[in-house]
Amino acid sequence: MTNLVLLFISTVLINNLVLVNFLGICPFLGVSGKLESAFGMGAAVTFVMTLATTLSWLIYHLVLDKFDILFLQYVVFILVIASLVQIVEMFVRKFSPALYQALGIYLPLITTNCAILGAALFMVSKNYGFLESVIFGFSGGVGFSLVLMIMAGIREELKFADIPKAFQGAALTLITAGLLALIFVGFSGLVSA
């Protein structure tokens, strides 16, 4: 049990997918303009990432491992993620139109989010068990949402700041991202392995 809690904390803070592994930078910079949309994107990614790692674990261990075709994992995982996103989108659209409106274009965008594929591949390379994989996927998504919302909060405040012309726009966003990444590296002493 403590194992799983530690895994959760370390995935969210220490091995954060965005700021430590530098995956999913595209939505991190693209959807962090407003706190509201950042939350929507974070929720959608968390949902899909949990499902994707779970399903990927099953396929990896029950199919790929058995037939000795582990080199196909990249292709298969992409297939799984893409189909999963489509299925999730259809379900959400049918049963919760309000949520579908709220998630908007973010749901199909997740198909090409490398953080999801990254999470599935990490899960394989770290030899996680089934339960660990589920927790890993979920906490990866939580870490992604956390960082995305921190960034969105900062950028919302920055809109009202008096910024020198050379730093305006993308420049300051990238600098902010860099400083955030430095801060998250500082978490690395939190849990000693």
């Binding site: 396929i59 000795d68 196909l72 297939l79 299925i87 659209r93 049918k94």
Partner: protein, 289 residues
């Protein structure tokens, strides 16, 4: 080696096939029926998302119409033409006809007519200037800084000599300028071949009006005394009741008699046919979008 190729091709093929079958089954089962009426209504709506109907945009309005089958005459810019097509689409026969309305500005004074005794260096928006009662001495008149010009979705407003000119042919009557003006100078009036309006909003007594503007309404009541005319004077200011207009000649009589010449007239079109006027405005809309 050969075995590996066969297995991997088979595995991927079967996997892909499974997912595609699953997806196609689910897409049939979970299909959300889009109301075909929505698409049809969207096609005839102007598509400028002005919000005059009270919904967030043309799409939201189209969905609401298709759902309720009721609010079919909500599109102001489209006018009667669009709304009658919408009626056909949702199968409603009874069309409560809706007159095309356009905006008029209740201040007709140019820069040499309204007095300016202060120097204003603040933000160049009417909202800010209105707080300070700056720019012009009249506390009711047009500040001429163009908040309304900025919000107009069809560029029907312009400022000439610090006076607002409404291009009634372009105007779609969405009412955005009514909300933008801090002094509530705009009014929506029925479109006509000749549009008369009282171009003053100053509710003070004649002495005070004279002090700040040479074109202001002094509330003398001459226009109200025209027999059978639609003018009334309440609180030192003349008002035109558009529902009581029967004879345009009476309006012109009142206009000629007005001592300060503050009753405005505009003749928006060479085409006097109101149908072609709404067609014109529709062409404008098409160009816009």
């Amino acid at each position: 080696m050969i075995r590996q190729i066969i297995v991997s091709v088979a595995a991927l093929g079967v996997g892909g096939l499974l997912f595609s079958v699953l997806l196609s089954i689910l897409s049939k089962k979970l299909k959300v029926e889009d109301d075909p009426k929505v698409a049809k209504i969207l096609e005839v709506l102007p598509g400028i998302n002005c919000g005059a109907c009270g919904f967030s945009g043309c799409r939201a309005y189209a969905e609401a119409v298709a759902k309720t089958n009721d609010i079919y005459n909500g599109c102001l810019p489209g006018g009667e033409e669009v709304n009658s097509v919408i009626c056909d689409i949702i199968g409603v026969k009874d069309l409560t006809s809706r007159v095309k309305k356009v905006a008029v500005c209740r201040c007709g004074a140019s820069s040499n007519e309204k007095k300016e005794s202060t120097v204003y260096n603040g933000p160049l928006t009417c909202k800010a200037a209105d707080l300070l009662k700056a720019v012009i001495d009249c506390h009711y008149g047009c500040l001429g800084l163009g908040d309304c010009v900025g919000v107009c979705p069809v560029q029907a407003l312009s400022i000439v000599n610090k006076r607002i000119i409404v291009d009634q042919l372009k105007c779609i009557g969405c009412g955005k300028c009514l909300l933008a003006c801090p002094r509530n100078l705009f009014e929506l009036v029925p479109f006509n071949e000749k549009i008369y309006s009282v171009a003053c909003n100053n509710k003070q007594k004649a002495v005070n009006v004279k002090k700040v503007c040479s074109k202001g309404c002094i509330g003398c009541g001459i226009c109200a005394r025209v027999e059978g005319g639609p003018f009334t004077v309440t609180g030192n200011l003349s008002y035109l009741d558009y529902s009581k207009i029967n004879d345009l000649k009476l309006l012109d009589v009142a206009r000629q008699k007005c001592p300060t010449k503050c009753i405005d007239i505009s003749e928006p079109s060479i085409d006097l046919d109101s149908n072609s006027a709404s067609l014109n405005s529709k062409l404008c809309l098409k160009k816009q979008s």
